[in-house]
Subunit: 161 residues, 4 copies
């Protein structure tokens, strides 16, 4: 069965809600989904989950136009698997305080890290092209985009594994 | 008197409206403002205006996450002044069809070009940090952001000339 | 047979040389390769080629941290196929005058446009992660990276079509 | 006297060497320079230094196309001064393992954070446009670029304070 890992950091609950909807979308598409929250001190387990998944989706609030330091710490430590994530599918999403506040650059930062791992990214021609963006609390538009991301990553992971 | 040049490309009128508001903001801050539209075939005059201004602000619709080819053609041709725009102040704004649709990357693309010219960019800690973004028709929030950009560039240009 | 289209703009011949090596890599991997040069005035044919290919790779010199206006014009006009390129594989490469001169942002600009088309991008964990970069004339390192890009896109296109 | 703060994270010593050269450049331009290393656990003092400086320059190795998590943690915690760094001058530099390895995106990530603080960034029309990049150990070219960055930030900080 295709495994999709969804990792997020959330303080206000907005990114967490997005993660749950991404998870819903991936699950409905038939994937086995693992949903993990990153805290200030995260366990080695998440790094192992990355290695054992076909698709990896990371979500973060927008902190100065980039993912939170906790997400960055996870990416930095993922170097222990460098080369081994090659060919896996990646996806990213972000919440933000306002339009033009750095949400796209946050998503692209995660995508760049995934490309450096040799991973595979798929955009979408409809909606939030790089990945779902929520301005404040996720509304129905955002929920739709999140589910679409989960579905997209699950289906591509299925094809590529 | 401090001169601020505002250059834009617009098809639906949204970016044009933003440009007018940026112009309003720069004018109120005391700058002499030149507002120029880029068409498919633009005159050499705009390039000369760039050279003769203290601040240059460029606006574009979001076409595939980047400024329109017409704006890019202007940037490419600005190479004739390479080195001579060093120290001038730059600013950028973008209209887009939807949130997460590439508006930030459009603005950053223009900012990157300005940095390569050795120009000076100022963000803002309030609102649209990299530059104003309009999702569809500019509303009162966007108008405020546009005027703030005009003011910001005019004031910094005044200080630096 | 898997079709890979390679489109480039070149003035000094550096990007052209890179395109030929990308083409070599894709061909060796078993793809049917089409190599097309974009000029100031390009034919409608290239847009049709995009529609009829499984993989599309675009290369450009670095002009102000972005692809040339000619490449941008092609991307803008590709809007006529918006939605129809969804799921195709993309890749990008760039030549530049110097390190830190905007080569990565040029490649990422093309990748962003592809993501907005809903296309699929694969990075590499070895070498030029986002896509091959040549500082000046392509040397043996660059040639290797270009061939690897061609191979990577051909193989992924084969899997996904 | 104009104060320039240079903050860096370094593991191999390459970024540290760059920081020293940036410091040299800022000092020669007449600024009072503070050079601070960020470790896994950094003191509150650096955040106060940010507040008390006219110019802030941050350097990092390239970890997955972005600054290290330690630098990101500093940026995240700088939110306590949000709004108060507005108008200060910023600059960034990065070391990397190879060309096309994410060095530009690392520098731009820092620049984006600075723009969100409302800070002022100046590129250069000569050399490493966004900020100095070292591929491996800093050579004479890199040293020259680093000194130029220090000088540029010191001079602009002087003008703007």
């Amino acid at each position: 069965m295709t495994k999709v890992l969804i990792v997020y950091y959330s303080r206000t609950g907005n990114t967490k809600k997005m993660a749950e909807e991404v998870s819903e979308g991936a699950g409905r598409a038939g994937a086995e989904v693992e949903l993990k929250e990153v805290k200030d001190d995260f366990s080695e387990e998440i790094l192992e989950d990355m290695l054992n998944s076909d698709g990896i989706i990371i979500g973060s609030p927008t902190y100065y136009g980039l993912p939170s330091a906790q997400i960055k710490a996870l990416l930095d430590r993922s170097v222990k698997h460098h080369g081994k994530l090659d060919g896996k599918v990646g996806g990213a999403f972000a919440s933000a305080g306002n339009v033009g506040g750095g949400n796209e650059t946050t998503i692209l930062a995660i995508i760049e890290a995934f490309l450096i791992h040799g991973m595979v990214i798929k955009g979408t021609s409809a909606g939030d092209h790089y990945g779902p963006v929520s301005i404040g609390k996720p509304d129905s538009r955002v929920i739709k985009q999140c589910r679409a991301l989960g579905k997209r990553v699950a289906e591509l992971s299925e094809k590529l594994r």
